[in-house]
């Protein structure tokens, strides 16, 4: 898969315990994993914490991976499980009253690296209310600009299923945007191209 430029030799070397290959693999994976965690985790998941947990699983379980070519799907599967765990934890914290960071709170700490614009907070809210499978294809196809074929391989589902989920997700997103209370200039309704 082109979007994660890790060849099977690198994965194999890392799997066999080559420290340099392991670190190189991590350098290649981390931006992708961090992006997945930030975009799919939702407002109650700390993307860095989740990405950390994914990397630890990758580093400690790499020897259980048999086929180097399947690495990216394996990585995505781990990310998905870790995110589900973190989302559950966020849900529990919501009910137990644990403190949760407000990602839109500019007053909290000006040195924070990830401040979302109001528009992105609104998008995140809409994604959060979508069913997980639709959110997933919308983020992978339209936010991360992956092809339907890449996403199908990543999720281990047929391309036709990706297309139908994407169609439904786009419709739901468009409808949610129209009904959103944020000002029109923040949520500018534009049309999807033929992607």
């Amino acid at each position: 898969m082109a979007f994660l430029a890790c060849n099977s030799d690198l994965v194999e070397d890392a799997r066999l315990g080559d420290t340099r290959a392991r670190e190189r693999l991590m350098d290649l994976c981390l931006p992708t994993v961090l992006g997945w965690c930030a975009r799919l985790g939702g407002p109650k998941v700390d993307a860095e914490d989740a990405a950390h947990d994914v990397c630890v699983v990758v580093l400690t379980k790499l020897d259980s991976l048999r086929d180097g070519e399947a690495f990216v799907s394996w990585l995505y599967g781990i990310t998905r499980r870790i995110l589900a765990k973190h989302r559950r934890r966020g849900w529990v914290q919501r009910w137990t009253g644990a403190a949760l960071p407000d990602i839109a709170d500019l007053d909290a700490d000006p040195t924070r690296s990830h401040d979302l614009s109001e528009l992105s907070v609104a998008v995140q809210g809409i994604l959060e209310r979508m069913p997980g499978k639709q959110r997933e294809v919308l983020v992978l196809c339209d936010v991360e600009e992956r092809t339907d074929e890449d996403v199908a391989a990543l999720l281990g589902i047929p391309v036709g299923t990706v297309k139908s989920r994407l169609r439904t997700a786009r419709g739901r997103f468009r409808k949610a945007v129209r009904g959103h209370r944020v000002e029109p200039q923040l949520i500018g309704l534009t049309t999807w191209g033929q992607g």
């Binding site: 860095e48 040195t111 401040d115 109001e118 936010v143 923040l186 992607g195």
Partner: protein, 304 residues
Amino acid sequence: MSGPHELRRFADDTRPRDHAANRVRARALETADLRVHERAMAALRRPWIAAGVGVSLAAAGVLLTVFVQPPEPAELVAELNAVADWETLTASEDVQMHFQGRGSLAGTEQAPDITWETGTVRLAVEPERGIDLRVRTPEVLVRVLGTRFAVHRDAKGSHVEVQRGLVSVTCTGGEELKLPPGRVHTCVPVTAAGLLARAQALDEDRVALDTVLETLDAGLESADGPVAAELRFYRVSAFAGRGLFKEALAAAVALDGPHAGHRRAELGPLILRLAYRVDGCDGAAEHRDRLADGVVDPLEGRCE
């Protein structure tokens, strides 16, 4: 792009930053190493495996005693690695080591040479047996002739504590010092990266801001490139972390330019956030032109 502009904006806002990746990378490698070590230790704790290891070691010991004539003095080679618990090693009948951390042992029984990387090593040396023991870290060389002492190394530097006898301590680039029992001496890091780590550790301990800033300045004397940019950038964080946003803003504005190095792209949004914190939207408006092309305005939608 096949999606609408709000998704494109979301993609920009959530694009992974280098420093976030670096933070995660460092934490993950450390945690993974720790897990692997714990797994190995857990396996050793299983009684049948421990018994097997014990029998093997005993057999190896007998074979060595019977067939191998040890050279005089015997050479020492050992990796010292105790992450979870304290471990004890008898380097010779005159030298006992108790350690938690990482390092290596070389030299001979008569002149053990320990290179210590991180954590604490406590040493008990039999007096008046002519043992010339040395402990080295990047910041210090400790020499001893019969005593009991400890060397602890962390981000703040190397700390030498003497319990019995007299120890010679030479900080890197400094003069030899005789350290009596009950005294602790600290040799601070000498490299710019080491001084940055010390400043961060002091800052986390909420040591006086002046001390943190002095440490950053000391690092800047020998730093260049990315480390220099990090040292300057950390000054902004140190102010902001104490709620001194006006000072943080001044430091960030002073840093804006070629000195910011790899931090330059994130400096513009940071200055805007700090200016907003200090003077609201009016204050932030003065700094809007500092945003590099293509960098998302963090105040968009808030200050129109």
